[in-house]
Subunit: 252 residues, 2 copies
């Protein structure tokens, strides 16, 4: 596998695959992408791509195979419940070309919550796990997620997904953390775009982002400097702050 | 072009391409996907896929070319501001293989807001438009989006994106609207998964989704029935309601 981190061991990459018609129809507003993105950044994993696909096996398989070949980890959300439209586990098994069947460990987990008569055929769907997968415990509603290869299959309900991510995180390889620092410019984006581009060119190993917003005094800009190297980050941020100060004075 | 709607004129499909490191780092929580998704559903366009990619030209080009070949429309958000990290217009030009240059119409729009000395090199970046594109007016901050082929390039700031979408929407081809109806089951998802699957099988032209949530009385389920045919939707929803009623009585 020629994932990007093989070339640079300090960088661990990831993608998110959100599975669900309800996100694409707009009925449900996704809350998982932003949460996982921030979480991964904080532990030193770089999120490189997100895809949202419908509850269609071929779409899930194609997207998952594209993402797992390219990135260090893939985190999926959605489609592991008890109803007919929950097809993620079967799709993941298909993507990996492995069989899927009732997993005794998953049945045991479900049995902690459900009586034998409650554990009907629908709920037993949640115990169907692709061969070779490890389970991800679900502290909230027991039905587990699972990990196969570099793919982590989690629930779509945010509280459950978050609990699963807490279980998964300590097992992940992480890279050098991407450090970031933010300064509020007190100037409009277009006022500083020119000198900011010069600074960006002079600091090629640092990523500089410019994000306009409305502050109490009117249009304003956040400049975000990011790097894995604290010294390089500091040098670029100093240049940004000096530039901002000079642009402010020029305008007064 | 073999987009899916050529095979079924009643269906118009779309994808969203969100462009921005700040979404992938979790710094900014996307608010555009859910908004556009709901908007498109309401006007009869079916959102089939979403991708989020970083501010990297090759990534934008690859994702855009994949999506525009496959779906009726592609809506992009982000990366059309005045700073060095705003590379969407150049990437779209590269994806279409057309030149990009200052567009006199876009310069005129920017001149409505900015004085000649304000219209510096950074702000003039926002007038760089791929050859052959039509502009999308920006009622809020003047800097336009643009439309080229089946791709609509919009701002990332939600208020501006929303204003642009209002401009774009009347120009879009729309299909037969996907109708939907929702019922609150008053039962847990796993309680009705079995009979719901039977109903889904008996109504193959209707899509039935099951979404667990917590109501005031505990775990509950929304059943969403969707179809382009009002009669088929009604028939399936009647079957769902009858099933729910019978399951409730069986439990009392």
């Amino acid at each position: 596998m020629t994932t990007e981190e093989n070339r640079s061991p300090a960088i661990v990459t990831a993608a998110i695959l959100v599975i669900g018609d309800e996100i694409l129809s707009g009925r449900t507003k996704d809350k998982n992408i932003g949460y996982i993105a921030e979480y991964l950044t904080n532990i030193g994993i770089e999120l490189r791509e997100v895809r949202v696909v419908p509850d269609v096996t071929d779409e899930i398989v194609a997207a998952l195979n594209a993402l797992r070949a390219r990135y260090g980890y893939v985190f999926t959300t959605g489609g592991i419940g008890p109803t007919h439209d929950d097809i993620t586990a079967d799709a993941v098994a298909a993507a990996f070309g492995v069989p899927i069947d009732y997993d005794p460990r998953a049945v045991a987990m479900l049995s902690e919550r459900f009586s034998p008569e409650e554990l009907n055929e629908a709920r037993m769907r949640m115990a169907r796990i692709p061969a070779g997968a490890e389970l991800i415990a679900n502290a909230i509603s027991k039905a587990p997620g699972f990990n196969i290869g570099n793919v982590f299959v989690m629930a779509g309900v945010p509280a459950i997904m978050q609990a699963m991510l807490d279980v998964v995180a300590p097992t992940l390889r992480t890279g050098t953390k991407l450090l970031s620092d933010t300064v509020q410019a007190g100037l409009r984006e277009g006022d500083i775009g020119g000198p900011l581009a010069v600074i960006a060119q002079a600091h090629p190993e640092v990523s500089i982002g410019s994000y306009p917003f409305w502050s109490e005094t009117g249009p304003d800009t956040h400049i975000v400097v990011r790097s894995r190297d604290a010294g390089k980050l500091q040098a670029a941020m100093n240049a940004v702050k000096t530039m901002i100060e000079s642009e402010r004075q020029r305008r007064n």
